[in-house]
Amino acid sequence: MSGSRKTVQQQDQAAGGRHGHSKAQCLQILRRLSAYVDDELTDSLCGEIRKHLGACPNCEEFVESLRQTVGLCRHNHVRSLSAHDKSRLRLSILKAAASA
């Protein structure tokens, strides 16, 4: 996962525009990305990932898209239950409880 930006770009070109890392390298980084996004890693692990991201635009985009995904999940609001539905649901529950 180390190497300069130029090296990674060269690797990408050699791979026909595809991500140039080995599967093992990818897994090593991939495994920690949620902890990285949640700021739960130790300083040294965090620094290691940051160093890699600075050298690999593809991985940087990947992490950014993961961060965006988490943000979308956190802010996705849903509809509330209407007062009518709340009251109707309460009655159904009490009816079912009484008849059991």
Binding site: L30, T69, G71, L81
Partner: protein, 214 residues
Amino acid sequence: MMAPPSTNVTRRRPTASDGDGYARDVAAFDRMYQDNVDRMYRFAQRLCGQEDDAKDLVQETFLNAFRGLKDFRGEAQPSTWLYTIAVRACTRMRRRRKGEPERELSLEEFIPTSEGEFRLQIPTEGLSPEEALEHKQLRHNLLQAIQKLPKKYRLVLVLRDMEGLSAQEVGAIMGLNERAVKSRLHRARLFVRRELSAKGLGQQPAPKRAAVKE
């Protein structure tokens, strides 16, 4: 926290003919219902995707809560207790309806293999999540991605990232240790991320930016 009530409750519950005991149960139930019904409906919608299924789940959850109310001693937050009941009810309901086997998600399947997989298909850079979610297609894709998640991953993602519970609370609700919660959450996030990338969307051409409302 006591264990959530099972479906096979054999002890006798107070009924309307029991007078005061029943009235006390209903009063306690009403307090719990008023305080938590919005939260549980929100949770159910995120979990089920469909309004009718969500209402069924809320009904099943509070019915089981009513039945177990006398044994709830308040060691846990009522909301945590209700989430636990809802998770079990959801598991039973889905098993009844589909009976599909639970798929395991491996980390390896999330390694990108083509260019379009590194970023989200609908760009959201420079936008707040709220602004991005004004984009109808993005909202639709997100909900669809969450519904495609195998249930045990979806439950963790919804509880942690959507309901905002801590990993420890999610663990208590699901009967998992914190490490297992984080592992499932990570896979669930990677799954949803991939679904929102070009790969998940079948390599469609990039649409307009999320800021532009349709």
